[in-house]
């Protein structure tokens, strides 16, 4: 098991460049396996530093309408956990450096089988997991087993995570901390930069891990503003909407990569 993960390496490298990371989210298999794989493959060249790949689920309780619809489009097109891991393997044939994080909900992993899933994910080249409905109270389910497979477990902190709860949230976290900048679902209102800066400052008192900020960030301008004081910004809904709006798969691929390039420019002028 490697001790320094791809996520650790990437964040260390960006720290020496003094710029925040751009983390991009797409749902695996939206709107087809082929077009989604092509979007995925092109993301690093377009400027994504870390990639979050959504594992579609029928009942994504923490997501807004855009990502819900993306999951249903992917499922409609026949996406499965096995196909998502196949996408990861295909991606890794061309890219050994870009950290890849799977994001989703517990039930599809539960059904796949935790040990089997972790071993398949590790061998496919997955670096981290974000599983929204597994808070620290349930670390024995997936977080601790993931660590044994060398997979980081990225923990969410939110505006409702108070100082008393924070140590528990951070205890078994690795990779980075994902600060959910607004109470709400993905794709909602924009965060207030001052409040986010304050919250990130408080988080830093408790952890050395890089801090990514997401939920409600859509534009290069927001990326630049939030990226001034965070280690990464996460954009999902805005990219997924590019896919939703596109008339053809080709348009979707171009639109996602175009917006990624804009956002990449944003994080590069953050500091």
């Amino acid at each position: 098991m490697n001790t320094v993960s791809r996520l650790d390496q990437r964040f260390a490298a960006l720290k020496s460049e003094n710029r925040p990371a751009l983390v991009t989210y797409i749902t695996a298999g939206d709107t087809s396996f082929e077009s989604s794989l092509e979007i995925l493959k092109g993301l690093p060249a377009a400027g994504a530093d870390v990639i979050e790949l959504g594992m579609p689920f029928t009942d994504p309780m923490a997501d807004g309408p855009a990502i819900q619809k993306a999951a249903l489009r992917a499922l409609e097109a026949g996406q499965t956990q096995a196909k998502t891991l196949e996408m990861v393997r295909a991606f890794r044939q061309h890219d050994q450096d870009t950290p890849l994080v799977l994001m989703g909900y517990y039930n599809p992993i539960h059904r796949y089988g935790v040990e089997r899933f972790l071993s398949d994910a590790a061998s496919a080249g997955i670096d981290g997991l974000i599983v929204v409905d597994l808070p620290p109270e349930h670390d024995e389910e997936l977080c601790l087993p993931a660590a044994r497979h060398g997979i980081n477990f990225i923990r969410l902190a939110t505006p409702t995570t108070d100082a008393k709860r924070l140590p528990k949230v951070i205890e078994n976290a690795s990779g980075f901390i994902y600060y959910v900048s607004v109470a709400g679902v993905t794709g909602g209102q924009a965060p207030t930069p001052q409040r986010v800066e304050q919250a990130v400052g408080q988080l830093r008192e408790h952890t050395q891990l890089p801090i990514a900020v997401g939920f409600g960030i859509r534009s290069a301008e927001q990326a630049a503003t939030i990226g001034r004081f965070s280690d990464a910004i996460v954009v999902g809904t805005a990219l997924v909407e590019c896919i939703e709006r596109a008339a053809t798969p080709r348009d979707a691929i171009e639109a996602v990569h175009d917006l990624t390039r804009e956002l990449a420019a944003g994080v590069r002028r953050a500091r």
């Binding site: 956990q81 059904r111 808070p135 109270e137 349930h138 409702t160 709400g184």
Partner: protein
């Protein structure tokens, strides 16, 4: 007459009433599988509930409302004529249909609304399937002056027009949920999303014994008045405990409310009746305990209807209130330990029971409750005439008149 109490007994079921543990687990089920944003709110709720559940003043308020506002105790009615027709056990109906708002659901909404008030939340939200929980929530919100938003699947809004209008008359805002399969599970997803977004000023009144800890325990406790009354009434009216209990199970709140005070009474058999829909073999049903497997949804681990990929599959039932792919975690546990028998009743048998009770006893049951009645029709004839079974008549059928009329080819 000596009345056996639960405390007298050390039966093999003596631990059952001690669930859940401090983390909300019923055996391997239950728990708190929620996004981080809600963790704080659930910790708060757990604290508020723990401080009030044994508080004499809170209990007195709750009991007062149950008596004077809901009209409790609800009668235990001997369905003498129907029993004779079926030619077996004596059937007793626990008349939750006679409660204010027409179902057991109000027991829980009264309790949770009192908590909301104590917690200082000016707004309540709820999910609803058949509309009974929505109506019960809108009712208590009206009485306590709380702002109220009800999430209801768009398909259910169509199926349960009367209840939708009732909720609106009560001053609630009914939001038709268009996402996913447009039924109860999607209403619950949307309510969770609302709660995550408005957690500061909003209390989420979950309507069943599912969801994250402490909801399964809390909703059971508020509904356990049904079983406590039935136990007492049984001792008074029958002179002993019943031989069997039957209740329908969607999420399972009416069943848990009836069963819980009897869990340690080894001699009382229990039957939970899931929605068999068009038949288990067709796949068109809502019977996770009979045909599902364990998984995690809506904050708890329980039996779920999901496919091989762990995706939640569409359910089917003639009754909107049972049209749900999960079930309360305590039921999952009671199934595994063998305390409760979980069976199914198909749509056609349910309709038959609905019509039969209406004709024979002059009581029109909710289609949900008619699942329990349909199983009583199966079980009673296998029992002796000096045996007794209690069926939870969890709700009245007025809301289902349009559904039944449509099946009869009548449009209003």
């Amino acid at each position: 007459m000596s009345m056996p109490t639960q405390a007298d007994k050390a039966s093999k079921f003596s631990d059952l009433a001690q669930q859940p543990d401090s983390r909300g687990h019923f055996g391997p089920y239950g728990g708190r599988f929620v996004s981080e944003t809600l963790s704080f709110a659930l910790e708060e709720l757990e604290k508020v509930y723990a401080s009030l559940r044994d508080d004499p003043e809170f209990q007195a308020d709750f009991d007062y409302d149950l008596k004077h506002y809901v009209g409790r105790p609800s009668p235990l009615y001997h369905a003498d004529r129907w029993s004779r027709e079926l030619g077996g056990a004596q059937i007793w109906l626990k008349r939750e249909d006679l409660n204010h708002t027409g179902a057991h659901k109000v027991n829980n909404t009264i309790g949770q609304a009192l908590l909301a008030k104590k917690a200082g939340k000016p707004r309540v939200i709820a999910e609803t399937g058949a509309g009974q929980h929505g109506v019960a929530t809108a009712t208590v919100a009206a009485r306590l002056g709380l702002k109220c938003d009800i999430y209801m699947g768009a398909e259910d809004v169509e199926r349960q027009k009367l209840n939708v209008y009732r909720m609106r008359l009560l001053g609630a805002n009914v939001i038709a949920v268009e996402s996913g399969s447009r039924t109860l599970k999607d209403a619950m997803n949307e309510a969770m999303r609302d709660w995550v977004t408005n957690v500061d000023d909003t209390f989420y009144i979950i309507g069943t014994v599912a969801g994250p800890h402490p909801y399964p325990e809390m909703v059971r406790d508020f509904n356990a008045v049904v079983g406590r009354e039935a136990r007492r009434q049984s001792l008074e009216q029958i002179g002993r405990l019943p031989d069997a209990l039957i209740a329908c199970v969607g999420g399972g709140s009416n069943a848990m409310g009836l069963f819980y005070p009897f869990l340690q009474d080894e001699e009382v058999a229990m039957y939970g009746v899931e929605a068999g829909g068009k038949g288990l073999e067709t796949g068109q049903h809502a019977a996770p305990l009979n045909a599902g497997q364990p998984g995690v949804l809506h904050g708890n681990r329980t039996y779920l209807m999901s496919d091989e990929g762990g995706q939640i599959i569409d359910t089917h039932s003639i009754s909107a209130g049972l049209d749900y792919p999960g079930v309360g975690p305590e039921h999952a546990w009671l199934k595994d330990v063998g305390r409760v028998n979980y069976v199914t009743a198909n749509d056609d048998k349910v309709l038959e029971a609905f019509r039969e009770l209406t004709h024979v006893e002059g009581i029109m049951p909710a289609l949900e409750s008619a699942h329990a009645l349909a199983y009583a029709k199966v079980l009673a004839p296998t029992m002796r005439t000096d045996e007794h079974l209690i069926v939870n008549l969890s709700g009245r059928g007025d809301k289902d008149i349009l559904t039944v009329a449509k099946i009869d080819g009548i449009e209003f």
